[in-house]
């Protein structure tokens, strides 16, 4: 049975009304003092010492470029920052490398930021290998004021990549839900929590946001029509459509890696079962056939397998099933309640929530071996999501009576907390790596 035309039309009329309230596009939203605090546990964590100085003329541009870069690298827990400001270097300087070798630096970053006649800014930098005495060459980024933070994050990504070999994620975005009383807001922010914008604010709950693989759209579950429906919203234009609004409940959207389909949980045929549907709302396909609850689908990176939660064994555990349908296979065997699977983009790990002593704790499973490690010692963990470089997990937890967002390294040793004073924050999802726009 397809959605009845009158019901779908009703859903679209509701969205029209809400779009009026939402303004239809992004607008700046005042996030009070969003900041990360880093906690690094364990002795002997090796950190790369890097000397970074204030960029020449940085005071003349609207954003503190070198401070953003320092904060990014510090937050990763992998770098020890030395201050090179006293040397007054810029991107074309030849730095006193033997001095810095003596001070224990492995690398040195110097740069400049110049306002241009047309109102844009030329941000330049050079990264030096202190031990080899070699410079990377000068890189220049010409950006408008609105993109200065992003430029700083891209520089931090470049440094991270050159020095660790892994892709940086400082220039990525996150989305999450913020709740203040009856008001629910879907928030999009930079990975450092700054630059928060609110594509959607409604007086009904929003749950389960999910980034499309190209980073342009967010799917989520909205209760604005008095029941849960799956909505897809274009982040930059604000355009929304109901992708799944069938009879009963519609929830748990998960984008296929090619961005063409969503796995969803529907009760249209009774119970909660997994289906696939086109991102345009067409082409419904049922995946699971059981009398139990099957929900929370998560795709393998090759798009062939769905991980999902089922209580067919009595209590919720995580299973896999071919995306084209077939026999499910159980994956979790430790603990009596396992939910919320998230698969790393490199396909090697599954993060999930396991009930431990009446609390709910983030765990990591190495998929090749089945080995399981707890990543936290908190009791109210929810909704894990991997960074696009597969090295970090963002999740929600509770601290001092408030819902907060945390990131953790895969060994659990480097944790950073995003604390906002305004509202309870939950359901974080890490956006994909996107290429910088060509200008």
């Amino acid at each position: 049975m397809t959605q009845s035309p009158s019901r779908r039309a009703a859903a679209l009329r509701i969205l029209g009304g809400v779009a009026l309230l939402a303004g239809g596009a992004l607008w700046p939203w005042q996030a009070a003092q969003a900041q990360f605090r880093v906690e690094i546990a364990g002795v002997g964590a090796t950190q790369i010492p890097i000397a970074i100085g204030t960029f020449r003329d940085e005071a003349r541009v609207p954003q503190p470029v070198s401070r953003i870069i320092k904060a990014d690298l510090e937050r990763s827990g992998l770098f020890r920052i030395l201050d090179a400001s006293a040397d007054r270097l810029d991107d074309s300087s030849r730095p006193p490398l033997p001095d810095w070798r003596g001070k224990g630096a492995d690398a040195l970053l110097a740069g400049s930021a110049t306002p241009l006649v047309d109102g844009r800014f030329d941000v330049r930098y050079q990264l030096w290998d202190v031990l080899k005495g070699q410079g990377s060459g000068i890189v220049s980024m010409v950006v408008p004021a609105a993109d200065l933070r992003q430029a700083a994050h891209r520089i931090a990504d470049d440094i991270y990549q050159r020095l660790t070999g892994d892709m940086g994620v400082f220039s990525t975005r996150i989305a999450y839900v913020s709740k203040a009383g009856a008001r629910h807001t879907l928030v999009v922010a930079d990975a450092d929590g700054e630059g928060a914008q609110a594509p959607l604010t409604i007086s009904q709950p929003i749950i389960s946001p999910a980034w499309s693989p190209d980073g342009q759209r967010l799917a989520y579950v909205s209760f604005e029509g008095g029941k849960p429906v799956v909505v897809v919203q274009d982040v930059s234009t604000g355009r929304r459509r109901v992708v799944a609004g069938f009879k009963g409940s519609n929830s748990a959207p998960a984008w296929s890696p090619d961005g063409r389909q969503l796995a969803v949980t529907l009760s249209r045929d009774g119970g909660s079962q997994l289906y696939l549907i086109g991102a345009d709302g067409q082409g419904l396909q049922r995946v699971t056939q059981s009398a139990s609850i099957d929900t929370e689908a998560a795709w393998s990176p090759d798009g062939r397998t769905l991980y999902f939660v089922s209580d067919r064994g009595g209590a919720p555990q995580i299973y896999t099933v071919p995306a084209s349908g077939g026999q499910p296979r159980r994956v979790t065997f430790q603990g009596s309640y396992n939910i919320s699977p998230a698969i790393s983009p490199d396909g090697r790990y599954m993060a999930y929530i396991s009930q431990v002593d009446a609390g709910y704790r983030l765990h990591l499973m190495e998929l090749a071996t089945g080995k399981v490690t707890p990543l936290t010692d908190t009791r109210d963990d929810e909704s894990p999501s991997f960074a696009p470089n597969s090295k970090l997990i963002i999740y929600a937890t509770r601290a001092q009576g408030r819902d907060v967002l945390m990131t953790t390294s895969l060994d659990g040793r480097i944790k950073a907390r995003l604390a906002t004073t305004q509202a309870d924050v939950r359901e974080p999802v890490w956006g994909p790596h996107v290429q910088p726009p060509r200008r």
């Binding site: 009329r13 009304g17 809400v18 009383g181 009856a182 209760f223 029941k227 939910i339």
Partner: protein
């Protein structure tokens, strides 16, 4: 699509749908939505909202009459922990609703299932759905047509009572029958 008229209609429909969702039972989230005191946090008495914490507690006290409409029909059905069985104490209410719906085949209801706050959001959405469908089944077994009923879930997202502990959780494990 004719946007300006449609948007006006939709703003009105959105308002109408919000109000239609009230039903006749006194619900804290409806009060919060109309601009009254914000929902307090889960640490009662810990802050300056201590006075509104105790207001919340008094509304929590179970009172089936508050959950009934003008016809005296109970509209909220409560469930035991980890249970999706409609208890015998609600058989009379189910019977009353079935009679009412069988007498008027054009009448429709929506059944909203809810859970307490413990556990994951999406799994709780599915558990709430089980509760709504249990009530739906009780009605269809008494002859009500499936076309007259839609079973949906709010999971843990629309708590009737805020806070933690069994007294609060028991208030939230429920299904609500609302006229459309």
């Amino acid at each position: 699509m004719n946007f300006s008229r449609t948007l006006f209609v939709s703003a009105v429909s959105a308002a109408v749908l919000t109000l239609a969702g009230c039903g006749s039972s006194v619900k804290l989230d409806d009060q919060a939505g109309s601009g009254a005191a914000p929902i307090t946090s889960a640490t009662p008495g810990a802050d300056a909202n201590a006075a509104s914490s105790s207001n919340v507690a008094s509304v929590v006290v179970p009172d089936q009459n508050a959950a009934a409409d003008a016809s005296g029909l109970t509209r909220v059905i409560y469930f035991d922990f980890d249970s999706f069985v409609v208890k015998s104490e609600f058989a009379g209410a189910i019977d009353g609703h079935a009679k009412r719906l069988n007498a008027a085949k054009a009448k429709k209801v929506i059944i909203e299932g809810h859970t307490d706050e413990r556990g994951g959001r999406e799994y709780n959405l599915a558990l709430g759905q089980k509760r709504a469908e249990a009530v739906q089944k009780s009605l269809t077994l008494l002859g009500v047509s499936g076309e007259q009923i839609e079973a949906v879930s709010f999971g843990e997202e629309r708590a009737a009572a805020q806070g933690s502990g069994e007294a609060v959780w028991a208030q939230n494990r429920r299904a609500e029958i609302k006229d459309r």
